[in-house]
Amino acid sequence: MEILVCVRRVPDTSENEIQLNSAGNDIERGDLVYSINEADNYAVEEALQIVAKAGGTVTVATVGAEDDEEVLRREMAMGANRGVLISDDAFNGSDGRGIATILNAFVETGHYDLILTGVQAEDGGAQVGGMLAALLDYPFASLVTSIEVLEDRKLKISREIEGGQKEINEIDLPCVLSIQTGINEPRYVGMRGIRQVAGVPIPTFHAKDLGIGPGAVGEAGAKVKRVDYFVPVLGKGAEILQGSREENIDRVLELLEAKGGLK
């Protein structure tokens, strides 16, 4: 099973308040640390578990720049056989469709049975996986929470839908799946692991390697552009109780009673 996982390097936002920069046109990036998009990491782990059972290789690829190599290396330290950087100035400013077009061209350079992405990137639109599938004319499923390899080039997958329910599907290979967090427990990768793959070359694919002409991608080809970051004007919001804890508790009890709460 030849698996391609499309990954993305994103800012780590869990503990750190995202703030606007002074110019008001981007978030303040100076203090940010970057790492692999969480859902993509789950996807790589899933790929590794599949090939551990079914044989094959795992390739991780990202559309970006030199800085993005670090996430490729991290996933290679995790066990991915190959890391590929897809980079070209012409790609800058691509919208989701542009990225999908680039990835489509890359997929055509190889033979992949299964393509995985994370459901959504921190700064993304939950779109690239579905778009790539449509460009390739491969079947697609999003929000995948389990994968079982069947015979006859088929997979049995479950999708996470509302109400905590699971939608079970059968899907033909080759296909594209977008992976939801929590599908597995990713293995740990530390500094040592990354050092051990420090010397492994990561090839870069440029626009000409992929046969992508201008106009299809990049800013010129983008139909969707983010124009700014801003702080929304907040509405009235909640009535914040200002008293001491005791007073607040009394008020809450009043409200509970009034709204028909206490038994």
């Binding site: 869990s14 503990e15 750190n16 640390v33 790492s35 990713p186 740990y188 530390g190 500094m191 040592r192």
Partner: protein, 723 residues
């Protein structure tokens, strides 16, 4: 006097009865020795395949420790009854050793007498050993009764670890008793013989076992005595060699290995085993595999530890994780490894190389992951073990192996990643590390310098992560700063340049990340120009003292306070609340690991009106609060929190205020007070906070404002801790 034989004739008649067996005895000697040698050689095989361990330095120091711990049985009295029994048994063995050899050799060399015992020393030695044999025999009886009737809890074997060890223990104890009996019978028969010729019997130590047997044999005929003499000898020889060859198959192997185990024991308990002995930190990339994954990854000394365990259960009896119901039991960590080595390196048959030690039981693994992650490295097990078996190094090595394989619980992956990217396990921004000094009233009263190349000070206050970022623990930081300020110390902190000390990172097996944190900190410390480090965090203290190289000497704040108190620079106001009863909880990394027990107590005792009680488990028997650093993130499977047990111990001691000197202890204890339902009945306070609260400060107006500020802050934190 016709018909009466002389004493010499009687004795020689016994001797000749013995002589009939000389060939047999010789054969048994040879067989026994050869078997024993073969068995020991086989037992050494895995040690030859093990990883290196550098233990051949400081021979005199090591010999001194042999005298203290082996000959002196230093650790035994920690359990009074079992300890006393064992001291008697051990002393008996040592004393009887020469006698045993004499007896064995008499069988093949008729008139053998041990050199040095020919003259007056001989009978004196005989008296001593008569009593020794008696005492050993009695101890065996008591030991068997203890095992079978009283069944001390620490000998019990939980079902998941297999069957009880009682049968084997009783078997061995009985064999030793038989050995004593045989030896005594042998002496008794010879001593009784002259009676047959009408001569006074050989004097034996009065009321000793041989003496009693001799009296029982007074009326036996010479030929009977001869047979008994022969039989006792044979029994003695067979039992002796059987024991000799059987011991390496079980816990009694410690009889042979204990001396070596103690000789080769770690000299400096606080230096953690490096990833590979002989490979320095800079060359670690050469090591293909980190940690212990298979049995052969252990060092030869670790394997010797497995052989030397006497199954006494004292380690597990004191292990807080075990008491909390976590899957860890140090005793069985060792016993399982020993059994594994016996199984994979049998006496007969080829040795089989390792399966993974940690993993699934069905695939042959002996340890589960939770078992290995459960350890808080408190060191209670190592403190207790009479044979100086080492545990922390093994746990750390097993963790290194799991980390190397990427086998880490998700709950630990997040803080590890945060430590890597932000230098603290909370993932908070580096630049906010020193925000705690900006608390308004505090900053006015006690501005704290941030040190760097251009801005230096003599003393560096190393704050570490939890005190820097945790809302509650920041008050410990402020209290410590105020104390240093009060005694006129010129100090500062590293601020955003400080990273986590990495103490738990190392002990959780992430050596590479630890080295990165350490190297960064060492550089920052050097840049600060400080020639002294103070910290209020015992984990940081331990790291700076033992894990870090080339940094200035480090002190814990309790040591600083104690010194300033005896120098008169710190005076205390009396305690406000009459009904408070204080008890001091020894943090593991201040107390047991670094032997700082007295300074915090001296400080507390210097506060007028402070009533202090001692918990049953204190000093080096202190009970771990639950662990610090990364352990706060791990989600253990346990029956009850360690902290809850500790808080209950404090209540049992009659205390209603627990004083501790470690921010992690504070987290665990305050939490435990809530979980135990003791809110309102028990509070916790840090030593620095208490000192800061009680310091008598001179009151010019300037300071009055700062006192009000301090008082309100301390009130806030005491209120927090009272909830």
């Amino acid at each position: 006097m016709e018909g009466m034989e002389s004493v010499a004739q009687v004795t020689s008649s016994l001797a000749s009865s013995l002589a009939t067996g000389r060939i047999l005895f010789l054969l048994i000697h040879l067989l026994g020795i050869v078997c024993f040698a073969y068995i020991v050689a086989k037992r050494l095989v895995p040690l030859l395949r093990a990883k290196p361990d550098l233990r051949f330095d400081h021979p005199w120091l090591r010999l001194g420790r042999v005298l203290q711990f082996w000959l002196g049985q230093w650790r035994q009295p920690r359990y009074k009854l079992a300890g006393t029994l064992h001291i008697f048994i051990f002393a008996g063995f040592i004393l009887l050793a020469i006698r045993a050899f004499s007896v064995l050799l008499v069988g093949v060399s008729e008139n053998f007498v041990m050199p040095g015992l020919a003259g007056k020393a001989g009978p004196i030695y005989d008296v001593i050993t008569d009593y020794a044999a008696t005492i050993v025999f009695l101890c065996m009886v008591i030991a068997v009764i203890r095992r079978v009737v009283f069944k001390p809890a620490r000998y019990a074997v939980p079902a998941k670890f297999g069957k009880a060890h009682t049968a084997d223990a009783v078997f061995l104890l009985s064999l030793i008793a038989i050995l004593m009996l045989a030896d005594s019978l042998f002496a008794a028969a010879r001593a009784a013989a002259p009676a047959q010729a009408g001569y006074p019997v050989e004097a034996l130590a009065a009321f000793s076992l041989p003496w009693m047997l001799k009296n029982a044999l007074l009326s036996a005929s010479l030929s009977t005595l001869g047979r008994l003499y022969f039989g006792a000898y044979l029994l003695h020889e067979l039992t002796f060699y059987f024991l000799l060859c059987y011991r390496p198959f079980g816990i009694q192997f410690h009889v042979e290995t204990s001396l070596f185990n103690i000789y080769f024991a770690k000299l400096d308990r606080e230096i953690l085993k490096p990833v590979r002995w002989g490979i320095s930190d800079e060359h670690l990339d050469q090591v293909k595999s980190f940690g212990v994954k298979t049995f052969e990854d252990f060092t030869w000394k670790h394997m010797l530890d497995f052989y030397s365990c006497a199954d006494c259960g004292r380690c597990s009896d004191n292990c807080p994780a075990n008491a909390a119901g976590r899957p860890l039991s140090p005793r069985f960590l060792t016993i399982k490894a020993r059994d594994y080595s016996f199984q994979h390196y049998p006496i007969f048959g080829p040795g089989k190389n390792g399966t993974a030690l940690v993993g699934n039981k069905d695939s042959g693994s002996i340890y589960t992951e939770d078992e290995i992650w459960s350890c808080t490295t408190c060191g209670a097990c190592e403190q207790e073990c009479p044979l100086l078996v080492e545990y922390i190094d093994k746990i750390v090595d097993l963790r290194r192996g799991m980390i190397d394989d990427g086998n880490v619980p998700q709950s630990l992956q997040k803080p590890l990643k945060a430590l890597e990217s932000r230098g603290n396990p909370y993932g908070k921004m580096e630049k906010k590390r020193a925000d705690w000094v900006n608390a308004k009233q505090f900053q006015q009263a006690c501005p704290v310098k941030i040190l760097d190349k251009t801005n230096g000070a003599g003393t560096l206050y190393f704050v570490d992560s939890i005190t820097s970022y945790d809302d509650r623990m920041q008050s410990i930081g402020r209290a410590t700063a105020r104390i240093l300020d009060h005694v006129g110390e010129s100090f500062g902190i590293l601020g955003a340049a400080e990273r986590d000390s990495g103490h738990e990172v190392r002990r959780f097996g992430e050596e590479t990340l630890f080295l990165a944190l350490r190297d960064h900190n060492v550089e920052a410390i050097r840049a600060s120009g400080a020639h002294r480090i103070v910290t209020a965090d015992p984990h940081a203290y331990n790291a700076l003292k033992h894990d870090y190289k080339d940094v200035p000497a480090v002190e814990h704040i309790s040591q600083v306070i104690a010194r300033e108190v005896s120098a008169g620079k710190i005076k205390f106001n009396p305690v406000a609340n009459d009904s408070s009863v204080y008890t001091y909880h020894d943090p593991c990394y201040l107390g047991r690991h670094n032997q700082i027990y007295d300074e915090p107590r001296d400080v507390l005792d210097a506060i007028p009106g402070l009533k202090r009680v001692e918990m049953a488990r204190s000093r080096d028997r202190s009970f771990c609060c639950g662990g610090g650093g990364l352990m706060l993130f791990y989600e253990p499977k346990e029956d009850q929190r360690m902290g809850v047990k500790r808080v209950q111990m404090a209540a049992e001691a009659g205390a209603n205020v627990m004083v501790t000197a470690c921010p992690f202890c504070m987290v665990n204890i305050e939490d435990a007070i809530k979980v135990a339902g003791l809110e309102g009945k028990m509070t916790a306070i840090d030593l620095a906070e208490l000192v800061d609260q009680q310091i008598a400060r001179d009151c010019p107006d300037l300071k009055a404002r700062s006192i009000a500020a301090q008082a309100s802050e301390v009130k806030e934190c005491v209120a927090l801790s009272a909830k």
